[in-house]
Protein backbone atom coordinates (compact mmCIF):
# COMPACT_ATOMS: atom_id res chain seq x y z
CA UNK A 1 0.00 0.00 0.00
CA UNK A 2 1.49 3.29 -1.00
CA UNK A 3 0.98 6.12 1.45
CA UNK A 4 0.53 9.41 -0.39
CA UNK A 5 3.09 12.12 0.12
CA UNK A 6 2.46 14.34 3.13
CA UNK A 7 4.68 17.28 3.92
CA UNK A 8 4.10 17.16 7.68
CA UNK A 9 5.67 13.71 7.65
CA UNK A 10 8.83 15.17 6.21
CA UNK A 11 8.81 17.90 8.84
CA UNK A 12 8.73 15.22 11.54
CA UNK A 13 11.96 13.69 10.27
CA UNK A 14 13.61 17.05 9.62
CA UNK A 15 16.51 16.42 12.04
CA UNK A 16 17.32 13.14 10.30
CA UNK A 17 17.17 14.79 6.87
CA UNK A 18 19.50 17.55 8.06
CA UNK A 19 21.93 14.98 9.47
CA UNK A 20 22.07 13.09 6.18
CA UNK A 21 22.62 16.33 4.24
CA UNK A 22 25.34 17.43 6.65
CA UNK A 23 27.08 14.04 6.48
CA UNK A 24 26.97 14.18 2.67
CA UNK A 25 28.40 17.70 2.58
CA UNK A 26 31.20 16.82 5.00
CA UNK A 27 32.07 13.67 3.05
CA UNK A 28 32.12 15.51 -0.28
CA UNK A 29 34.20 18.39 1.08
CA UNK A 30 36.61 15.95 2.73
CA UNK A 31 37.28 14.46 -0.69
CA UNK A 32 37.41 17.80 -2.47
CA UNK A 33 39.44 19.91 -0.04
CA UNK A 34 43.19 20.04 0.30
CA UNK A 35 44.50 18.53 3.55
CA UNK A 36 45.34 21.90 5.12
CA UNK A 37 41.75 23.12 4.68
CA UNK A 38 40.28 20.02 6.33
CA UNK A 39 40.60 21.43 9.82
CA UNK A 40 37.52 23.50 9.01
CA UNK A 41 35.48 20.31 8.66
CA UNK A 42 35.10 20.23 12.44
CA UNK A 43 33.69 23.73 12.65
CA UNK A 44 31.44 22.98 9.69
CA UNK A 45 30.07 19.95 11.55
CA UNK A 46 29.54 21.93 14.75
CA UNK A 47 27.76 24.77 12.96
CA UNK A 48 25.68 22.27 11.00
CA UNK A 49 24.66 20.45 14.17
CA UNK A 50 23.84 23.75 15.88
CA UNK A 51 21.63 24.76 12.95
CA UNK A 52 19.97 21.32 13.02
CA UNK A 53 19.42 21.69 16.77
CA UNK A 54 17.80 25.12 16.45
CA UNK A 55 15.67 24.10 13.46
CA UNK A 56 14.53 20.94 15.22
CA UNK A 57 13.67 22.81 18.39
CA UNK A 58 11.66 25.48 16.58
CA UNK A 59 10.18 23.89 13.45
CA UNK A 60 9.78 20.16 13.97
CA UNK A 61 7.98 20.09 17.28
CA UNK A 62 5.59 17.14 17.48
CA UNK A 63 1.85 17.55 17.47
CA UNK A 64 0.03 17.24 20.76
CA UNK A 65 -1.19 13.73 19.97
CA UNK A 66 1.51 11.10 19.21
CA UNK A 67 1.41 9.93 15.59
CA UNK A 68 2.70 6.83 13.85
CA UNK A 69 4.36 7.82 10.61
CA UNK A 70 5.55 6.00 7.48
CA UNK A 71 3.36 2.95 7.97
CA UNK A 72 4.05 2.80 11.70
CA UNK A 73 7.83 2.79 11.30
CA UNK A 74 8.37 5.98 13.29
CA UNK A 75 6.48 7.50 16.17
CA UNK A 76 6.42 11.25 16.34
CA UNK A 77 6.03 12.28 19.97
CA UNK A 78 7.62 14.44 22.67
CA UNK A 79 9.92 11.69 23.86
CA UNK A 80 11.59 11.28 20.48
CA UNK A 81 11.69 15.06 20.15
CA UNK A 82 13.48 15.48 23.49
CA UNK A 83 15.96 12.71 22.79
CA UNK A 84 16.72 14.04 19.31
CA UNK A 85 17.72 17.37 20.83
CA UNK A 86 19.85 15.56 23.41
CA UNK A 87 21.66 13.55 20.72
CA UNK A 88 22.26 16.56 18.47
CA UNK A 89 23.70 18.46 21.43
CA UNK A 90 25.88 15.52 22.47
CA UNK A 91 27.20 15.11 18.93
CA UNK A 92 28.02 18.83 18.68
CA UNK A 93 29.94 18.77 21.96
CA UNK A 94 31.78 15.60 20.93
CA UNK A 95 32.77 17.29 17.67
CA UNK A 96 34.17 20.22 19.64
CA UNK A 97 36.24 17.81 21.73
CA UNK A 98 37.50 15.92 18.68
CA UNK A 99 38.40 18.94 16.59
CA UNK A 100 41.86 19.50 18.06
CA UNK A 101 42.57 15.81 18.61
CA UNK A 102 45.56 15.13 16.37
CA UNK A 103 44.33 11.71 15.24
CA UNK A 104 40.68 12.68 14.68
CA UNK A 105 40.38 16.39 13.99
CA UNK A 106 41.32 16.53 10.31
CA UNK A 107 39.62 13.34 9.22
CA UNK A 108 36.34 13.92 7.45
CA UNK A 109 35.46 10.27 8.04
CA UNK A 110 35.37 10.85 11.78
CA UNK A 111 32.68 13.52 11.51
CA UNK A 112 30.69 11.53 8.97
CA UNK A 113 30.68 8.43 11.19
CA UNK A 114 29.68 10.54 14.18
CA UNK A 115 26.82 12.10 12.22
CA UNK A 116 25.58 8.75 10.91
CA UNK A 117 25.69 7.32 14.40
CA UNK A 118 23.67 10.30 15.66
CA UNK A 119 21.19 9.68 12.86
CA UNK A 120 20.82 6.11 14.10
CA UNK A 121 20.24 7.30 17.65
CA UNK A 122 17.56 9.72 16.46
CA UNK A 123 15.80 6.84 14.74
CA UNK A 124 16.24 4.63 17.81
CA UNK A 125 14.43 7.20 19.93
CA UNK A 126 11.52 7.43 17.51
CA UNK A 127 11.29 3.87 16.19
CA UNK A 128 7.80 2.42 16.47
CA UNK A 129 8.45 -0.88 14.77
CA UNK A 130 10.74 -3.81 15.49
CA UNK A 131 12.36 -3.68 12.06
CA UNK A 132 12.98 0.05 12.24
CA UNK A 133 14.28 -0.40 15.76
CA UNK A 134 16.80 -3.03 14.72
CA UNK A 135 17.96 -1.02 11.71
CA UNK A 136 18.35 2.07 13.90
CA UNK A 137 20.35 0.17 16.51
CA UNK A 138 22.70 -1.14 13.83
CA UNK A 139 22.98 2.29 12.19
CA UNK A 140 24.07 3.58 15.58
CA UNK A 141 26.39 0.73 16.46
CA UNK A 142 28.37 0.10 13.28
CA UNK A 143 29.82 3.65 13.07
CA UNK A 144 30.55 3.45 16.80
CA UNK A 145 32.58 0.25 16.33
CA UNK A 146 34.70 2.04 13.75
CA UNK A 147 34.97 5.18 15.89
CA UNK A 148 36.19 3.17 18.90
CA UNK A 149 38.95 1.67 16.77
CA UNK A 150 39.58 4.86 14.81
CA UNK A 151 43.28 5.26 15.69
CA UNK A 152 44.59 2.31 13.70
CA UNK A 153 48.20 2.95 14.74
CA UNK A 154 47.29 2.53 18.42
CA UNK A 155 46.95 -1.08 19.56
CA UNK A 156 44.63 -0.19 22.42
CA UNK A 157 42.25 1.64 20.14
CA UNK A 158 42.19 -1.25 17.66
CA UNK A 159 41.53 -3.65 20.52
CA UNK A 160 38.73 -1.42 21.77
CA UNK A 161 37.09 -1.32 18.37
CA UNK A 162 37.32 -5.06 17.91
CA UNK A 163 36.08 -5.89 21.38
CA UNK A 164 33.15 -3.55 20.97
CA UNK A 165 32.34 -5.11 17.61
CA UNK A 166 32.40 -8.68 18.95
CA UNK A 167 30.28 -7.87 21.98
CA UNK A 168 27.92 -5.76 19.93
CA UNK A 169 27.45 -8.37 17.22
CA UNK A 170 26.81 -11.12 19.76
CA UNK A 171 24.24 -9.22 21.82
CA UNK A 172 22.61 -7.85 18.71
CA UNK A 173 22.18 -11.39 17.38
CA UNK A 174 20.53 -12.48 20.65
CA UNK A 175 18.27 -9.43 20.55
CA UNK A 176 17.32 -10.15 16.96
CA UNK A 177 16.36 -13.68 17.96
CA UNK A 178 14.11 -12.14 20.60
CA UNK A 179 12.53 -9.90 17.97
CA UNK A 180 11.93 -12.90 15.73
CA UNK A 181 10.19 -14.72 18.59
CA UNK A 182 8.01 -11.68 19.24
CA UNK A 183 7.04 -11.58 15.59
CA UNK A 184 6.50 -15.34 15.51
CA UNK A 185 4.19 -15.25 18.52
CA UNK A 186 2.14 -12.25 17.46
CA UNK A 187 2.45 -11.84 13.69
CA UNK A 188 3.07 -8.14 14.23
CA UNK A 189 6.22 -6.03 14.03
CA UNK A 190 4.71 -2.76 15.20
CA UNK A 191 5.48 -2.12 18.87
CA UNK A 192 2.09 -0.61 19.57
CA UNK A 193 0.17 -3.43 17.89
CA UNK A 194 2.35 -6.06 19.56
CA UNK A 195 1.03 -5.24 23.03
CA UNK A 196 -2.51 -6.41 22.29
CA UNK A 197 -1.35 -9.73 20.81
CA UNK A 198 1.27 -10.41 23.47
CA UNK A 199 -1.28 -10.07 26.27
CA UNK A 200 -2.79 -13.47 25.38
CA UNK A 201 0.56 -15.23 25.30
CA UNK A 202 1.67 -17.71 27.97
CA UNK A 203 3.92 -16.03 30.51
CA UNK A 204 7.05 -18.16 29.92
CA UNK A 205 7.04 -17.42 26.20
CA UNK A 206 6.54 -13.72 26.83
CA UNK A 207 9.27 -13.54 29.46
CA UNK A 208 11.65 -15.63 27.36
CA UNK A 209 11.47 -13.28 24.40
CA UNK A 210 11.62 -10.28 26.74
CA UNK A 211 14.84 -11.63 28.27
CA UNK A 212 16.45 -12.05 24.85
CA UNK A 213 15.49 -8.52 23.84
CA UNK A 214 16.79 -7.17 27.14
CA UNK A 215 20.24 -8.63 26.41
CA UNK A 216 20.64 -6.26 23.48
CA UNK A 217 19.38 -3.25 25.40
CA UNK A 218 21.53 -4.03 28.45
CA UNK A 219 24.57 -4.07 26.21
CA UNK A 220 23.66 -0.65 24.86
CA UNK A 221 23.22 0.87 28.32
CA UNK A 222 26.18 -1.18 29.69
CA UNK A 223 24.23 -2.83 32.50
CA UNK A 224 25.75 -5.75 34.41
CA UNK A 225 26.19 -8.60 33.26
CA UNK A 226 26.67 -7.13 29.77
CA UNK A 227 29.15 -4.49 30.87
CA UNK A 228 32.47 -6.26 30.22
CA UNK A 229 33.20 -4.29 27.09
CA UNK A 230 32.85 -0.88 28.73
CA UNK A 231 36.17 -0.44 30.64
CA UNK A 232 38.38 -1.76 27.84
CA UNK A 233 36.54 0.13 25.13
CA UNK A 234 36.46 3.42 27.05
CA UNK A 235 40.15 3.10 27.88
CA UNK A 236 41.24 2.26 24.34
CA UNK A 237 38.86 4.43 22.30
CA UNK A 238 39.80 8.06 21.61
CA UNK A 239 38.57 10.05 24.63
CA UNK A 240 35.92 12.12 22.76
CA UNK A 241 34.48 8.90 21.35
CA UNK A 242 34.44 7.32 24.81
CA UNK A 243 32.52 10.35 26.04
CA UNK A 244 30.00 9.97 23.22
CA UNK A 245 29.65 6.23 23.88
CA UNK A 246 29.00 6.71 27.56
CA UNK A 247 26.39 9.45 27.14
CA UNK A 248 24.51 9.66 23.85
CA UNK A 249 24.71 5.95 23.08
CA UNK A 250 23.56 5.09 26.59
CA UNK A 251 20.71 7.60 26.40
CA UNK A 252 19.59 6.05 23.11
CA UNK A 253 19.61 2.63 24.77
CA UNK A 254 17.41 3.90 27.57
CA UNK A 255 15.00 5.62 25.16
CA UNK A 256 14.50 2.29 23.41
CA UNK A 257 14.28 0.36 26.66
CA UNK A 258 11.53 2.60 28.02
CA UNK A 259 9.54 2.59 24.81
CA UNK A 260 9.69 -1.15 24.22
CA UNK A 261 8.95 -2.09 27.83
CA UNK A 262 5.97 0.24 28.06
CA UNK A 263 4.61 -0.13 24.53
CA UNK A 264 5.05 -3.85 23.91
CA UNK A 265 5.20 -5.48 27.35
CA UNK A 266 2.56 -3.86 29.56
CA UNK A 267 1.13 -7.36 30.09
CA UNK A 268 4.26 -8.48 31.92
CA UNK A 269 4.77 -5.29 33.92
CA UNK A 270 5.22 -6.79 37.41
CA UNK A 271 7.62 -9.43 36.09
CA UNK A 272 9.89 -7.04 34.22
CA UNK A 273 9.82 -4.61 37.10
CA UNK A 274 11.33 -7.29 39.31
CA UNK A 275 13.83 -8.22 36.63
CA UNK A 276 14.95 -4.63 36.04
CA UNK A 277 15.13 -3.99 39.80
CA UNK A 278 17.52 -6.93 40.11
CA UNK A 279 19.51 -5.63 37.15
CA UNK A 280 19.66 -2.17 38.74
CA UNK A 281 20.96 -3.47 42.06
CA UNK A 282 23.66 -5.63 40.46
CA UNK A 283 24.68 -2.91 38.00
CA UNK A 284 25.03 -0.21 40.65
CA UNK A 285 26.91 -2.39 43.08
CA UNK A 286 29.31 -4.02 40.63
CA UNK A 287 30.03 -0.73 38.87
CA UNK A 288 30.77 1.14 42.08
CA UNK A 289 32.82 -1.59 43.75
CA UNK A 290 35.02 -2.13 40.68
CA UNK A 291 35.47 1.62 40.23
CA UNK A 292 37.09 1.76 43.68
CA UNK A 293 40.13 -0.18 42.46
CA UNK A 294 40.88 1.82 39.30
CA UNK A 295 43.99 3.92 38.75
CA UNK A 296 43.22 4.98 35.19
CA UNK A 297 40.75 7.84 34.95
CA UNK A 298 39.08 6.58 31.79
CA UNK A 299 38.53 3.14 33.35
CA UNK A 300 37.22 4.83 36.47
CA UNK A 301 34.74 6.78 34.37
CA UNK A 302 33.77 3.56 32.59
CA UNK A 303 32.85 1.84 35.85
CA UNK A 304 31.15 5.00 37.07
CA UNK A 305 29.10 5.02 33.88
CA UNK A 306 28.07 1.41 34.59
CA UNK A 307 27.00 2.46 38.08
CA UNK A 308 24.99 5.36 36.66
CA UNK A 309 23.18 2.96 34.33
CA UNK A 310 22.11 1.22 37.54
CA UNK A 311 20.73 4.44 39.07
CA UNK A 312 18.80 5.17 35.88
CA UNK A 313 17.33 1.66 35.89
CA UNK A 314 15.81 2.48 39.31
CA UNK A 315 13.76 5.15 37.55
CA UNK A 316 12.64 2.59 34.94
CA UNK A 317 11.52 0.19 37.68
CA UNK A 318 9.51 2.89 39.42
CA UNK A 319 6.95 3.13 36.64
CA UNK A 320 3.31 2.97 37.58
CA UNK A 321 1.04 0.67 35.64
CA UNK A 322 -1.89 3.03 36.04
CA UNK A 323 -0.18 5.82 34.15
CA UNK A 324 2.02 8.81 34.55
CA UNK A 325 4.18 9.22 37.64
CA UNK A 326 7.68 10.32 38.51
CA UNK A 327 9.43 7.20 37.19
CA UNK A 328 9.95 7.77 33.48
CA UNK A 329 10.21 11.55 33.85
CA UNK A 330 13.05 11.06 36.32
CA UNK A 331 14.80 8.78 33.82
CA UNK A 332 14.64 11.41 31.09
CA UNK A 333 15.86 14.11 33.48
CA UNK A 334 18.66 11.89 34.77
CA UNK A 335 19.80 11.15 31.22
CA UNK A 336 19.98 14.85 30.36
CA UNK A 337 21.93 15.67 33.54
CA UNK A 338 24.18 12.67 33.05
CA UNK A 339 24.88 13.59 29.42
CA UNK A 340 26.05 17.08 30.40
CA UNK A 341 28.04 15.89 33.40
CA UNK A 342 29.79 12.93 31.83
CA UNK A 343 30.59 14.84 28.65
CA UNK A 344 32.22 17.50 30.85
CA UNK A 345 34.20 14.81 32.70
CA UNK A 346 35.39 13.15 29.49
CA UNK A 347 36.06 16.57 27.95
CA UNK A 348 38.30 17.51 30.87
CA UNK A 349 40.10 14.16 30.55
CA UNK A 350 40.50 14.73 26.80
CA UNK A 351 41.86 18.25 27.35
CA UNK A 352 44.33 16.98 29.91
CA UNK A 353 45.29 13.84 28.01
CA UNK A 354 45.99 15.80 24.82
CA UNK A 355 48.71 17.81 26.55
CA UNK A 356 50.08 15.32 29.08
CA UNK A 357 49.61 12.15 27.05
CA UNK A 358 48.50 10.17 30.10
CA UNK A 359 45.19 9.14 31.63
CA UNK A 360 46.66 7.72 34.83
CA UNK A 361 45.50 9.26 38.12
CA UNK A 362 49.09 9.97 39.13
CA UNK A 363 49.44 12.38 36.22
CA UNK A 364 46.59 14.47 37.66
CA UNK A 365 48.59 15.39 40.77
CA UNK A 366 48.91 19.14 41.14
CA UNK A 367 46.49 19.89 38.30
CA UNK A 368 44.86 22.69 40.30
CA UNK A 369 48.15 24.58 40.27
CA UNK A 370 48.92 23.81 36.67
CA UNK A 371 45.53 24.81 35.30
CA UNK A 372 42.99 26.13 37.83
CA UNK A 373 40.29 26.45 35.19
CA UNK A 374 40.49 22.81 34.11
CA UNK A 375 40.63 21.69 37.74
CA UNK A 376 37.44 23.66 38.36
CA UNK A 377 35.70 21.92 35.46
CA UNK A 378 36.75 18.57 36.89
CA UNK A 379 35.45 19.62 40.29
CA UNK A 380 32.05 20.54 38.85
CA UNK A 381 31.82 17.40 36.72
CA UNK A 382 32.89 14.93 39.41
CA UNK A 383 30.81 16.52 42.18
CA UNK A 384 27.83 16.40 39.85
CA UNK A 385 28.57 12.73 39.06
CA UNK A 386 28.70 11.95 42.75
CA UNK A 387 25.39 13.74 43.27
CA UNK A 388 26.30 16.92 45.15
CA UNK A 389 24.18 20.06 45.15
CA UNK A 390 24.04 22.56 43.46
CA UNK A 391 24.81 20.50 40.36
CA UNK A 392 22.54 18.63 37.95
CA UNK A 393 23.57 15.20 39.19
CA UNK A 394 22.12 15.90 42.62
CA UNK A 395 18.65 16.83 41.40
CA UNK A 396 18.67 13.89 39.00
CA UNK A 397 19.44 11.46 41.82
CA UNK A 398 16.80 13.04 44.06
CA UNK A 399 14.14 12.55 41.38
CA UNK A 400 15.12 8.96 40.67
CA UNK A 401 15.14 7.97 44.35
CA UNK A 402 11.92 9.92 44.95
CA UNK A 403 10.31 8.01 42.09
CA UNK A 404 11.36 4.72 43.70
CA UNK A 405 9.90 5.75 47.05
CA UNK A 406 6.70 7.00 45.42
CA UNK A 407 6.24 3.64 43.69
CA UNK A 408 6.90 1.74 46.93
CA UNK A 409 10.32 0.44 45.96
CA UNK A 410 11.85 1.83 49.14
CA UNK A 411 14.53 -0.87 49.51
CA UNK A 412 15.73 -0.09 46.00
CA UNK A 413 16.09 3.59 46.86
CA UNK A 414 18.05 2.65 50.00
CA UNK A 415 20.48 0.54 47.98
CA UNK A 416 20.79 3.41 45.52
CA UNK A 417 21.68 5.87 48.29
CA UNK A 418 24.24 3.45 49.77
CA UNK A 419 25.81 3.09 46.34
CA UNK A 420 25.96 6.86 45.90
CA UNK A 421 28.07 6.97 49.06
CA UNK A 422 30.54 4.46 47.61
CA UNK A 423 30.58 6.56 44.45
CA UNK A 424 31.35 9.69 46.41
CA UNK A 425 34.53 8.04 47.70
CA UNK A 426 36.19 7.40 44.37
CA UNK A 427 35.06 10.66 42.80
CA UNK A 428 36.56 12.53 45.74
CA UNK A 429 39.75 10.45 45.50
CA UNK A 430 40.35 11.76 42.01
CA UNK A 431 39.62 15.31 43.15
CA UNK A 432 42.14 14.75 45.93
CA UNK A 433 44.77 14.05 43.29
CA UNK A 434 43.73 17.17 41.40
CA UNK A 435 43.59 19.56 44.36
CA UNK A 436 45.67 18.25 47.27
CA UNK A 437 48.53 16.17 45.91
CA UNK A 438 51.66 17.67 44.36
CA UNK A 439 53.83 16.23 41.64
CA UNK A 440 57.02 14.58 42.95
CA UNK A 441 58.90 16.70 40.47
CA UNK A 442 57.60 20.23 41.09
CA UNK A 443 58.85 21.46 37.72
CA UNK A 444 56.19 19.29 36.13
CA UNK A 445 53.55 21.61 37.60
CA UNK A 446 55.11 24.62 35.93
CA UNK A 447 54.47 23.29 32.43
CA UNK A 448 51.60 25.18 30.83
CA UNK A 449 48.38 23.33 30.04
CA UNK A 450 46.82 25.12 27.10
CA UNK A 451 43.07 24.72 26.59
CA UNK A 452 42.29 25.37 22.95
CA UNK A 453 39.23 27.28 21.84
CA UNK A 454 36.86 24.41 20.96
CA UNK A 455 37.59 22.67 24.27
CA UNK A 456 37.04 25.89 26.20
CA UNK A 457 33.75 26.58 24.41
CA UNK A 458 32.43 23.06 25.01
CA UNK A 459 33.50 22.91 28.65
CA UNK A 460 32.00 26.31 29.46
CA UNK A 461 28.71 25.31 27.81
CA UNK A 462 28.63 22.07 29.78
CA UNK A 463 29.45 23.66 33.13
CA UNK A 464 26.73 26.28 32.64
CA UNK A 465 24.34 23.48 31.72
CA UNK A 466 25.22 21.40 34.79
CA UNK A 467 24.68 24.35 37.13
CA UNK A 468 21.45 25.35 35.39
CA UNK A 469 20.10 21.82 35.73
CA UNK A 470 21.02 21.81 39.39
CA UNK A 471 19.51 25.17 40.31
CA UNK A 472 16.74 26.17 37.90
CA UNK A 473 15.62 22.60 37.38
CA UNK A 474 11.89 23.16 37.19
CA UNK A 475 11.49 23.95 33.46
CA UNK A 476 13.82 21.07 32.57
CA UNK A 477 11.86 18.70 34.72
CA UNK A 478 8.57 19.86 33.19
CA UNK A 479 10.01 19.06 29.75
CA UNK A 480 11.12 15.64 30.92
CA UNK A 481 7.63 15.07 32.27
CA UNK A 482 6.03 16.07 28.97
CA UNK A 483 8.43 13.80 27.10
CA UNK A 484 7.81 10.85 29.40
CA UNK A 485 4.04 11.36 29.32
CA UNK A 486 3.98 10.51 25.62
CA UNK A 487 5.21 7.01 26.44
CA UNK A 488 1.88 6.02 27.87
Amino acid sequence: MFVPFDSTMLLAILPEILLVVLAGVVLALDAAWQPEKRRWLGWLTVVGLAVAFILTATVSQPESEPRLLFGGMLRDDWLSFAFRLVFLFGAAITTLFAMDHEALGRKGEFYVLLLVSTLGMNLMASAGDLIMLYLAIETTSIPLYILAGFITTDDKSTEAGFKYLLFGAMTSAVMLYGFSLLYGFSGETNLYLLAGKLGELPMPALLGSLLLVLVGFSFKVSAVPFHFWAPDVYEGAPTPVAGFLSTASKAAGFAVLMRVLLAAFPAALPSWQGLIALLAVVTMTVGNLLALAQTNVKRLLAFSSIAHAGYILIGVVAVNAAGMNLGMASVVFYLIAYLLTNLAAFGAVATFGRVSGSDEMDAYKGLSRRSPALALVMLVAFLSLSGMPPFGGFIAKVFVFAAAVEANWIWLAVIGVLNSIIGLYYYLTLLKYVYLYRQDNLEEEQKPLPISRPYALALVLLVIGIILLGTAFNPWFEWSRTAAASLF
Binding site: F2, F5, V20, G24, L27, A28, D30, A31, A32, F185, G187, E200, L201, P202, P204
Partner: protein
Protein backbone atom coordinates in the same frame (compact mmCIF):
# COMPACT_ATOMS: atom_id res chain seq x y z
CA UNK B 1 -2.33 -13.30 9.30
CA UNK B 2 -1.31 -16.23 11.45
CA UNK B 3 -3.77 -16.88 14.22
CA UNK B 4 -2.48 -18.53 17.36
CA UNK B 5 -5.55 -19.51 19.32
CA UNK B 6 -4.22 -20.64 22.66
CA UNK B 7 -5.96 -22.98 25.04
CA UNK B 8 -7.38 -21.28 28.05
CA UNK B 9 -6.76 -24.01 30.63
CA UNK B 10 -3.03 -24.69 30.20
CA UNK B 11 -1.55 -22.36 27.64
CA UNK B 12 1.86 -24.04 27.79
CA UNK B 13 0.35 -27.11 26.11
CA UNK B 14 -0.82 -25.11 23.13
CA UNK B 15 -0.83 -27.71 20.32
CA UNK B 16 0.98 -25.41 17.87
CA UNK B 17 4.13 -25.51 19.95
CA UNK B 18 4.38 -29.26 20.51
CA UNK B 19 6.13 -30.09 17.19
CA UNK B 20 8.51 -27.21 17.87
CA UNK B 21 9.32 -28.59 21.31
CA UNK B 22 9.86 -32.09 19.91
CA UNK B 23 12.15 -30.71 17.20
CA UNK B 24 14.10 -28.75 19.81
CA UNK B 25 14.57 -31.78 22.08
CA UNK B 26 15.47 -34.10 19.18
CA UNK B 27 17.99 -31.66 17.72
CA UNK B 28 19.71 -31.20 21.07
CA UNK B 29 19.74 -34.93 21.80
CA UNK B 30 21.07 -35.77 18.35
CA UNK B 31 23.92 -33.31 18.72
CA UNK B 32 25.03 -34.86 21.99
CA UNK B 33 24.41 -38.41 20.75
CA UNK B 34 26.65 -38.11 17.70
CA UNK B 35 29.58 -36.79 19.70
CA UNK B 36 29.17 -39.35 22.49
CA UNK B 37 28.82 -42.36 20.17
CA UNK B 38 31.82 -41.22 18.14
CA UNK B 39 33.89 -40.93 21.29
CA UNK B 40 32.76 -44.32 22.65
CA UNK B 41 33.06 -46.57 19.59
CA UNK B 42 35.28 -44.73 17.15
CA UNK B 43 38.83 -46.08 16.70
CA UNK B 44 41.55 -43.60 17.63
CA UNK B 45 44.90 -44.02 15.89
CA UNK B 46 46.58 -40.62 15.92
CA UNK B 47 49.45 -40.04 13.51
CA UNK B 48 51.51 -36.99 12.61
CA UNK B 49 49.95 -36.85 9.20
CA UNK B 50 46.43 -36.76 10.71
CA UNK B 51 47.35 -34.04 13.16
CA UNK B 52 48.53 -31.72 10.39
CA UNK B 53 46.32 -28.76 9.43
CA UNK B 54 44.06 -29.64 6.54
CA UNK B 55 44.86 -27.95 3.27
CA UNK B 56 42.95 -29.76 0.50
CA UNK B 57 44.77 -32.99 1.33
CA UNK B 58 48.18 -31.56 0.49
CA UNK B 59 51.11 -30.96 2.76
CA UNK B 60 50.54 -27.37 4.10
CA UNK B 61 52.77 -24.70 2.54
CA UNK B 62 53.73 -21.58 4.48
CA UNK B 63 52.01 -20.02 7.49
CA UNK B 64 48.27 -20.02 8.00
CA UNK B 65 47.93 -16.31 8.73
CA UNK B 66 49.00 -14.86 5.40
CA UNK B 67 48.25 -11.24 4.59
CA UNK B 68 45.66 -10.48 1.95
CA UNK B 69 45.95 -7.15 0.13
CA UNK B 70 43.36 -4.72 1.48
CA UNK B 71 42.51 -3.76 -2.10
CA UNK B 72 40.33 -6.86 -2.44
CA UNK B 73 38.28 -5.60 0.47
CA UNK B 74 37.78 -2.21 -1.15
CA UNK B 75 36.81 -3.78 -4.44
CA UNK B 76 34.33 -6.07 -2.72
CA UNK B 77 32.81 -3.12 -0.88
CA UNK B 78 32.40 -1.07 -4.06
CA UNK B 79 30.84 -4.08 -5.73
CA UNK B 80 28.27 -4.37 -2.95
CA UNK B 81 27.57 -0.64 -3.20
CA UNK B 82 26.56 -0.90 -6.83
CA UNK B 83 24.95 -4.28 -6.42
CA UNK B 84 22.58 -2.95 -3.79
CA UNK B 85 21.83 0.00 -5.99
CA UNK B 86 20.65 -2.32 -8.76
CA UNK B 87 18.61 -4.39 -6.30
CA UNK B 88 16.72 -1.26 -5.34
CA UNK B 89 16.33 -0.21 -8.94
CA UNK B 90 14.54 -3.35 -10.14
CA UNK B 91 11.41 -3.25 -7.93
CA UNK B 92 11.30 0.51 -8.37
CA UNK B 93 11.23 0.13 -12.15
CA UNK B 94 8.35 -2.36 -11.91
CA UNK B 95 6.05 0.07 -10.06
CA UNK B 96 7.51 3.21 -11.62
CA UNK B 97 4.20 4.43 -13.06
CA UNK B 98 2.21 3.94 -9.86
CA UNK B 99 4.79 5.83 -7.81
CA UNK B 100 4.66 8.85 -10.08
CA UNK B 101 6.71 11.98 -9.50
CA UNK B 102 7.43 11.40 -5.81
CA UNK B 103 8.91 7.99 -6.65
CA UNK B 104 11.20 9.64 -9.16
CA UNK B 105 12.31 12.23 -6.60
CA UNK B 106 12.94 9.57 -3.97
CA UNK B 107 15.07 7.53 -6.34
CA UNK B 108 16.92 10.71 -7.31
CA UNK B 109 17.72 11.36 -3.64
CA UNK B 110 18.85 7.78 -3.18
CA UNK B 111 21.14 8.08 -6.20
CA UNK B 112 22.49 11.42 -4.96
CA UNK B 113 23.50 9.93 -1.61
CA UNK B 114 25.11 7.01 -3.40
CA UNK B 115 26.85 9.39 -5.80
CA UNK B 116 28.46 11.27 -2.91
CA UNK B 117 29.85 7.99 -1.62
CA UNK B 118 31.08 7.12 -5.10
CA UNK B 119 32.84 10.48 -5.55
CA UNK B 120 34.40 10.08 -2.13
CA UNK B 121 35.69 6.60 -2.96
CA UNK B 122 37.02 7.84 -6.29
CA UNK B 123 38.79 10.86 -4.82
CA UNK B 124 40.33 8.79 -2.05
CA UNK B 125 41.84 6.48 -4.66
CA UNK B 126 39.75 3.38 -3.98
CA UNK B 127 39.43 2.71 -7.71
CA UNK B 128 43.17 2.67 -8.40
CA UNK B 129 44.70 -0.76 -8.29
CA UNK B 130 48.31 0.31 -7.75
Amino acid sequence: MINFSLQEANPMLAPEYIPLAILFILATALGFLVVIIGNLFGPRRPSIRKAMPYESGMRPIGVGTRRTPVRFYLTAMLFILFDVEVIFFLPWAVVFRELGLSGLIEMGLFLLILLIGFIYAWKKGALEWE
